[in-house]
């Protein structure tokens, strides 16, 4: 983990409220693993004060990519950055996905909802390199919420989409698409990132079908490296669950570790 105070933006793509930046930083890119994240400063001033946690979307030699949707003032400011601007970034942070050597030759599903697709491109390609047969399930509200569909396809990955309004692919939630797919064939593993209700439902399917599943959790974070204890979630580690740090103990946890909150 290191700090690059001036990582140069070498690529910017946008689709409505969705943005993708490529940032050149050999120091950050060298260590990056799928499921890890970056803490990015969105302002040079004291407001907004905190860095924003963003998943590592892809790694290309000396470049890391981030993909995000405008969700508030911080990401709105970040979205205004242009190519050649510099970003102050801490990373790579967190433990990331565990890529089990036993997945070679096995079918695995990578399931992303909305902006939760962000870490799954890097992961899907690494899984394929590790010899797994990867199927990507990518869900959004509507076709414009699936801006990365073609990118996955171009990378030669098998992608199935879902939209809540039926404008593309399976008509319904990505968890419905997952249920359909598991009815055909259970994968050897699930890798999931998306909104909490989607991940909770996915965890239920995984538990029922006895599929090992890993979930990348999202949280507002104070620091991103374990110092503030602000981003906790109830996680079991051989106990009944304690407030554990998403930034440091995660952000990726296995389904049986996560204590999902009751719907209020």
């Amino acid at each position: 983990m290191t700090k690059d105070p001036a990582a140069r933006i070498v690529l910017k793509q946008e689709w409505g409220n969705y943005f993708l930046f490529g940032v050149e930083s050999p120091a950050l890119a060298g260590e990056a693993k799928p499921g890890q994240f970056l803490m990015v400063r969105v302002s040079d001033h004291i407001d907004p004060l905190l860095r924003r946690p963003l998943s590592i979307h892809a790694r290309e030699r000396n470049t890391l990519e981030i993909f995000f949707k405008i969700a508030g003032r911080g990401t709105a400011l970040l979205a205004r950055k242009k190519e050649e601007d510099r970003l102050d970034i801490l990373g790579p942070l967190g433990a990331g996905f565990r890529l089990d050597a036993g997945l070679k030759g096995k079918a695995v599903f990578v399931v992303g909802g909305g902006r939760g697709i962000a870490p799954l491109y890097f992961l899907a390609r690494e899984l394929r390199t590790a010899g797994a047969r990867v199927k990507v399930l990518y869900g959004g509200k509507s076709l414009p919420d699936l801006p990365l569909k073609q990118k996955f396809e171009k990378a030669g990955l098998d992608v199935a989409c879902s939209t809540d309004d039926g404008s593309s692919g399976f008509h319904g939630l990505v968890t419905g698409l997952l249920q359909n797919e598991t009815n055909k064939q259970n994968p050897a593993a699930l890798f999931v990132c998306g909104p909490d209700p989607m991940m909770k439902k996915t965890a239920e399917i995984a538990a029922r079908e006895k599929i090992p599943a890993q979930f990348s959790l999202e949280s507002m974070m104070g620091c991103g490296f374990g110092a503030c204890w602000g981003c906790v979630k109830r996680i079991r580690k051989g106990d009944d669950g304690a407030w554990r740090k998403i930034c440091e103990d995660g952000p990726v946890f296995s389904g049986d570790e996560i204590v999902w909150e009751e719907e209020g």
């Binding site: 700090k3 400063r41 907004p48 490296f225 906790v232």
Partner: protein, 303 residues
Amino acid sequence: MVDLSVDLGFLKLRNPVLAASGTFGYGLEFEPFMDLNSIGGFVVKGLYFGPREGNPPPRLVETAGGLINAIGLQGVGVEQFAEEILPRLRKYQTAIFVNVCGASDEEYIRAIEYLNRYEGIAAYELNISCPNVEKNGACPALNSGHTFSLVKLAKQASRLPIIAKLSPNVTDIVEIAKAAEEGGADGISLINTILAMAVDIETQRPKLTNIFGGLSGPAIKPIALRMVYQVVSAVKIPVIGMGGIMTGSDALEFLIVGAKAVEVGTANFIDPAATLRIVGEIEDFCRRNDVKKIAGLVGTLKV
């Protein structure tokens, strides 16, 4: 060559910049980003006698130039700290302060008596001012009588110097500071966070599960500075100033009003090497202004 050392009376520091409790973990979290020996010292996250679960999330809200936290002092107890963490900190030649907490007077004393057996701690910072552990932000530092009696008990139990960390959530900070001094405190640190809240207008719910939290960050610096000034004018024991310090010039303001040292808090989250950078910025200021000894700048406010 600028002499950045300062003398707290009970302890000499390499330079006046400390990392504040609750923002620096147990120190080890910052090893990847900086040499811990380059700062005056650090105050480890508050320790109760036993481990603490902390508050349910959400625990953080970002506000204009600030951060409200309601962590609730989650952390390891004194035993795990002393047996597992402290041995890894002893290699550093920097001052390590332990922030001591308690749900009762007795628990503060138990924690101190336990930690007394271990080498490698420079002083205890008595955390009598956390706003996130009792209802409505209650804590001993809101009351001069309790401040006096608890500091006195702690001082009797401790083999190390006691720094009383005060709360800004009082009508008269001077009264509380004097109570800490009379109770025998070797030093005072202030301010802890300011009791605060934020509301989600869509759900009409508080943004923190705890409802209230403690506001920190640059938003609180002017209040902190005023309180530090009031306290240094009223007590003889050394004062460590903190509240919203982000830069060397922020730190210098606290030194000029009379703080012997400063603690840097929220800045550590944004820039994990903030303390180191601030030491450098103080040194640069001294060079530019021909200040040979930083200690000579302490309390030079002209009014």
